[in-house]
Structure formats: structure tokens, C-alpha cells
Symmetry: C2
């Protein structure tokens, strides 16, 4: 790992813990083990660090979602694969995901637009899966946006839960998430 990657990683941890605006360049430099001005040999600005972190993880989600949507499996299976995607990325990039939900408000200009477009595309694809399940009679017919929002909330907050439960068996986690997020939609249908 080179210095730039280390800066990005240490900054992500700091941003998650104290927030982007409350973390100073001196804080970041300190946790890397150098002085603040030295950071500028590797990155252009504090905002650029946030942009790199958020766009990378947003693209991870978009790429994963696109792979899933290529197939024509039934909706409950697609939903399970989306859950798997969130679990996998949560484990691999816990700090970065912790910034996804809130720190994007600190993005400006083109980076902000790009991030919001990636997020919106992701949500649209997710929505299509839920609509498909409801249309084909596999899911209960609920308010689509509310169902999307409810499912996404749990998946997005998985990182917070995972932080303090890193010892949990991943297969058990996956299985329980299926029950919580899929069975509620599929079981008890008339």
C-alpha cells in the first residue's frame, strides 16, 4: 500500500468517527504519521479525499448491481443477491460505507452530481427488482417506494451493526437477513 492509499484509508476512518467537517487536515496527517502540508504531495485537497472515497464505493455498488440485473432470475433471488452484495461490501469496506449515507452532503460540483447519479441509478435498479416481484405475484403488493426505502435502510445500516459484531458467523448473518428482508415480502400471501 502506497502513501496515497494510506491517506485515503486513514481519512475514511476519521471521517466516519468524527465527520468530514470536524476532521482537519492536521488530524488526517497525524493519523498517517506525517505533517499536514505533506498531504498535498499526494492529494489535491481535503474535498478530493472525500470524492475519491465516495465515488469508489458508489461505483462498487453500481457495478455489483449491474451484474445482478443482467440475469433474469426471479425477484426473490435477485433480492438475495443484492443482500449478498451489501454484506460483502460492508465487510470489505466498513468505514467507506459509513460515509455513504451522510457525508455526501459535503460533496460539491461535478463530484456531487456524479455521486447522486450513481446513487439514483442504483436505487432505480433496486426498485425494478421490487416491482418485478410485486407484478409477478411473488411479493406482497405494498407501497413500492416505502418497501425500497425500508429494505435499503437496513442494508445501509448494516455497517454500523457489523462494526460491533464482527465475530458473527457470516452465513448466519446472510440467512437472517434473507428472513428479515425477503420473507416479510413473500410469506403470508393470500
Amino acid at each position: 500500500m502506497n502513501r496515497k492509499e494510506d491517506i485515503i484509508l486513514k481519512a475514511a476512518r476519521l471521517f466516519r468517527k468524527k465527520g468530514f467537517s470536524s476532521s482537519s487536515m492536521r488530524d488526517i496527517a497525524g493519523s498517517v504519521g506525517i505533517e499536514a502540508p505533506s498531504l498535498y504531495n499526494h492529494i489535491k485537497s481535503k474535498h478530493e479525499i472525500l470524492e475519491i472515497i465516495l465515488l469508489e464505493i458508489a461505483e462498487d455498488f453500481t457495478n455489483g448491481m449491474n451484474s445482478i440485473c443482467e440475469s433474469d432470475k426471479k425477484a426473490s433471488q435477485l433480492l438475495k443477491e443484492i443482500i449478498d452484495l451489501h454484506i460483502t461490501l460492508t465487510i470489505k469496506k466498513t468505514d467507506q460505507i459509513g460515509l455513504l449515507t451522510h457525508e455526501w452532503i459535503n460533496l460539491t460540483g461535478a463530484a456531487r452530481e456524479k455521486f447522486l447519479k450513481l446513487r439514483n441509478d442504483y436505487e432505480l435498479n433496486f426498485k425494478k427488482v421490487i416491482e418485478k416481484g410485486m407484478m409477478e405475484g411473488e411479493f406482497k403488493k405494498l407501497h413500492i417506494d416505502l418497501t425500497l426505502f425500508s429494505t435499503l435502510s437496513t442494508l445501509r445500516w448494516l455497517y454500523a451493526w457489523y462494526k460491533s459484531n464482527q465475530d458473527m458467523d457470516i452465513d448466519r448473518l446472510r440467512s437472517d437477513m434473507y428472513t428479515l428482508l425477503v420473507d416479510g415480502l413473500t410469506q403470508g400471501l393470500d
Copy 2:
């Protein structure tokens, strides 16, 4: 509404939109319609504003939860009443609730401790309801903390959804939330 209440309200909206650290005293004063130094005739500091907002809404939740837990209804009914509590407070105090999940990281000292104790007590009471449901055979036996976390995630993010869907019929909202959060736990039991 007196000036102090107005300051708190305008600050809550600003903090939700831009974050606590990115909102300056000048910003707050501007949205109230006065100059920054005039704020200090009504509040002690910027941190005090955040403390007032967060402790008030945290106590709203604690009081509501305590009322619910006094009765000895079955767990699914208690869970529905907790959902009602979240819906009611979300509608009444959308901005303040938007700060609950993240901006508490800006609290320090005694206020931070008090807030975290209120939040922890709330979660413990919530957990007891879920445990009760699982013990009495009404809920599926899943990982208790994961179930708590999943349910709370949806309830905590309701405010974000509500912001852009204020026209939705509240009875429909309530009914769909029951289906999403309660039926998944109760239906399909062997």
C-alpha cells in the same frame, strides 16, 4: 413562538441540510433574520443548540417507549405501538429526528453521555419486546440484535422518506410498515 424557540427550529433545519459542523453561527443567525452575536442573548453556545435539540427528541422517544412498555400486551402489539411512536414523532419533528442518527457525534461531555444513555435505554426496551416475541413463540427465532438493528434502521430512516413523500396517506403508511416490520417476524412460522 419566542426567539429562542425560533433559533432552535431554524438551526435544526440547517443542521439537517448541511450538517452541524458545516453550519456556522452566521448561517443560523441569517435564517432567523438577525446578526450572529445576537444569538448569544438567547443561547450559550453553538453546542448548546445541538444539545437542546438532541436531548429533547431523545426524551420524546424515551417517554413514548416507557408508556408502551408499561402494558402487558403481546409483543406484536407492542411492536406496532413502537412503530406508531416513530411515525408520530417523524411527522411532528422531521428535522430533529434527522439529526438523531449522525449529529450526536458532535456532542461532548455530559450531554453526550446523557444522550447515549437515553439511546441505549431505548434500545434495551426495544430489545426486550423482540425477545418477548421470540420467547413466547410469536416471532421467529432470529439473531436478536440483528432483528433489533434491522427494525430500528427502517424506523430511523423513515424521516428521510417522509420528507419527500409528505402526501402519503398516514393510515396506509402505518399499515405498510406493520406488514414490512411485523409480518416478516410473525408469518411463515412452522
